[in-house]
Subunit: 130 residues, 2 copies
DNA sequence: GTCGTGACTTACGTTAACGTCAAGCTTTCT
DNA sequence: AGAAAGCTTGACGTTAACGTAAGTCACGAC
């Protein structure tokens, strides 16, 4: 059940992803499960990585960004410097997200005021206008 | 200069877009400039449409959505019903944008708290951690 | 032994909004 | 006339993250 090794199907149910997704992540070198013959077997480490990947996606990290972050930890364990780099990356992403939210808020305000003005959005069509 | 008719180059400078963009919009039936021989000539109506398209993009409308909205006005002018439909579409988009902003805010909060906890984001890697 | 099931690999398809050549026609400068 | 400029029409390329289909393999059940 919750053995150390899980099949692809168990992984899919546990994380709510498709087999294609897991194979895709593997092709992109984000995960590298064991093999029993031709079949994939996912370890606890794989599950940890997948968890991080999915969390990263919620934060808007691209898979390639996640791969780079994850790889920092393959090269000899998590030392201070690597942790630091991860934190820096996270902070940058946070700033990006905040900028994105601010822009979105501006657009929202603008659109809302257009609507309040009775959709003057369409003024350009009325030959009478301006 | 600011004649009723403008060349593609003048349009590009006026609206800060590339020729490719204008031809692309034309291929997608968002604009339909006149022709003088083989050359395109943009009318005041074209400028009005382009202005709306670009504004729509800022609001996150897809080009296809904008095309549909614009076409409402080609079919016999802007009557009450058409205006109504446009307003409905705009309201829906506004709601979408607000949802999107809310989700973004949640992600921001989550990421920020991760950072405040000293990047426990990486806990999954430490064999020591649960 | 063969049937069904699940896993596997390979590879093309999808979506949006253009970018980037390539090659030809016209007008314009010299 | 010849060349440079600017416009035109194809038509393929790009990016991300998978979806989807086609064909193969292996294994337990019968």
């Amino acid at each position: 059940m919750d053995n150390d090794l899980m099949t692809i199907r168990e992984m899919c149910e546990a994380f709510d992803v498709t087999p294609r997704t897991l194979r895709f992540y593997e092709a992109k070198e984000l995960i590298s499960p064991l093999r029993e013959g031709q079949k994939r077997l996912y370890t606890r480490s794989d599950r940890g990585r997948l968890k991080l990947i999915l969390r990263g996606k919620r934060f808007g990290f691209a898979l390639e960004e996640m791969r780079q972050l994850l790889n920092l930890y393959d090269r000899g364990g998590a030392n201070e410097e690597q942790l630091e780099r991860t934190i820096v990356a996270a902070r940058e992403r946070l700033a990006q997200m905040e900028r994105q939210r601010d822009e979105l808020n501006e657009a929202i305000d603008e659109l809302r005021s257009q609507l309040e003005n009775g959709a003057e959005m369409l003024a350009a069509f009325r030959p009478a206008a301006e």
